[in-house]
Symmetry: C2
Subunit: 386 residues, 2 copies
Amino acid sequence: MVGAGQLARMTCQAAIGLGIGFRVLAASPGDSAALVCAGVVIGDHTDPEALLAFARGCDVVTFDHEHVPGGLLDELEKAAAGQDGAAGQASAAVRPGAAALRYTQDKLAMRERLGALGVPCPRYAPVTDVAGVRACAEEWGWPVVLKAVTGGYDGRGVWVCGTPEEAAAVLAHPVAVFAEEHVAFRAELAALVARSPYGQAAAYPVVETVQRGGVCHEVLAPAPGLPPGLAMQAERMALGLAAELGVTGLLAVELFATEAGLMVNELAMRPHNSGHWTIEGARTSQFEQHLRAVLDLPLGDPRLAAPQVVMANVFGAGGASTAGIYSRYTHVMAADPGVKVHLYGKQVRPGRKIGHVTVIGSDVAGLRDRATRAASYLATGTEESA
Amino acid sequence: MVGAGQLARMTCQAAIGLGIGFRVLAASPGDSAALVCAGVVIGDHTDPEALLAFARGCDVVTFDHEHVPGGLLDELEKAAAGQDGAAGQASAAVRPGAAALRYTQDKLAMRERLGALGVPCPRYAPVTDVAGVRACAEEWGWPVVLKAVTGGYDGRGVWVCGTPEEAAAVLAHPVAVFAEEHVAFRAELAALVARSPYGQAAAYPVVETVQRGGVCHEVLAPAPGLPPGLAMQAERMALGLAAELGVTGLLAVELFATEAGLMVNELAMRPHNSGHWTIEGARTSQFEQHLRAVLDLPLGDPRLAAPQVVMANVFGAGGASTAGIYSRYTHVMAADPGVKVHLYGKQVRPGRKIGHVTVIGSDVAGLRDRATRAASYLATGTEESA
């Protein structure tokens, strides 16, 4: 796995269970997965030599993030298809492949492709100046969302602009953006599916994600009160997209549920924050499922292991120390022995995702309260109720 | 953790989730846990220098097996209590401690202690010759069980002798043994509890173990058809023993359910094969629970995560290759996507435990059938029904 963040860390846990040899290409020995994985290679994922050398030691290469440049992905695939010139040794299969990953790296290309496939999306338009944004606002109304074409994730690279002045401030950055209508949604959903090279596919129950400032705070699985017809539509949309885009591994489709129906917001082709609940809450975790899919093994049962599951992210808080989290940890464990705590071994920085907690049961309000209290206490030492 | 077998391997997975630094003292780099753990120290657990050096790098030392000699455990504890002479640096707390571990290393001492505590056990007697065995048989009847005082586990070190000649053959070995009555049991049960230095304790639901040739093949959680009063009695017995013997960490109590009531068969003070089901089947896995207990963290919820759980061990079969297991694996995953496969990365040898499978649901007969088929197919490529 290229990248050694918390997604690679949790994939490492799944690989141990499956008895699969697992290595990570880590930027630094202190990376979340590098701290726990037996097979750590230190290298820069934008350096062709480092990446190709890493791939030569693997059967399959997959990704913890979207940051390997597209040209390099093409090179990796060429090395896999033929013989690697340098070592005379076949390289690893790249899953998901470059053609699919493009749509997670270039959001404008993603919107164009989804539009061509007839998949409902927010209205969007390429823009280069304030006049372009004004033109969009005349049609859609303010606010207008500006999105970085590449490199954005977790609320970064997304700006909600209420005025032309705010848009001008964003456009002053040397970042290619496009404009999108601001969708008034009832709820944000995520549909997570897996697809193997063989073509087998499996869909997890559709979840609701609770976001603040564009960042996911809670995930409720299954999405409470979601009409079954809409859940099925979201699953089918995700399964259809996985097949159309030729995804191998996981595809997470972030959706807006609006008065007018479902709209696709974002795509990711890797284990996703909206699927962390599956470790305890599903028969097969998303991390095991991603491994099974990219290794072309039969997929696991994605069904719920409990009627209701709630996951809450733990964020670093200002003034909170890395060491301090382990004393707050004791409090959380004592207060609620049923809370499952996952810590990523990361240094605490304000706003940084440093862990998550999961609770399973049947009463969504009660589970949200427990998960939110535990996550809040881990982060800050104070409890905040859902 | 001293020792790097599959128990350490699965404890490593739990440590990753908890964000706890975890190291193993492995006899060889190919050991099950050494293959997957980021912190591997190679060394001999019977070598005082290797063991003390390992302990100096840890806050707490715990064990994957019972094979560290008692004298060495005492040395480890002395190093922890004071300053370590060699390096002038405090060593790790030893959990469980030497006084408790003694009862897992010396079965005769265990029987004596349990007798003194009034815990029901099979009748036993020290024996040194056939005359002694004959004397036992006159009172208890044949067969008589001969047990190695130290070093036996997993059916090794236990001989069921039907005649004086069979007993003579066992006594011809240079192994100290004692005699025990052969108990006609209705079922074999296991009660698994955790206890922390603080004194907090938690009990898992009592399970039934299905053994063949003295080796556990299946674990049924909770024990089907066990009267609630008997389950409570087994739990209380295990909790009481953990407190009486001063156990920190897990205590597994193997029990016979007989017409006359419960009898203690064996004790183990570590994660135990009878608790592997907890990974998917309980809110807190036994591996996480052991870590929480030895680190003096509050214990996790030991309750069932599903109405019924079945675990089946996978054994190496004659003629089966290590590589072959990964092709059979695909078949098992395809045949039953709900089966959770755990492989230990061990070379296949006939009779060796190389993995286990777990299924969760509600119908015990159906679950046993699925688990047994999957385990049998993984081992041999043929399905054997429960």
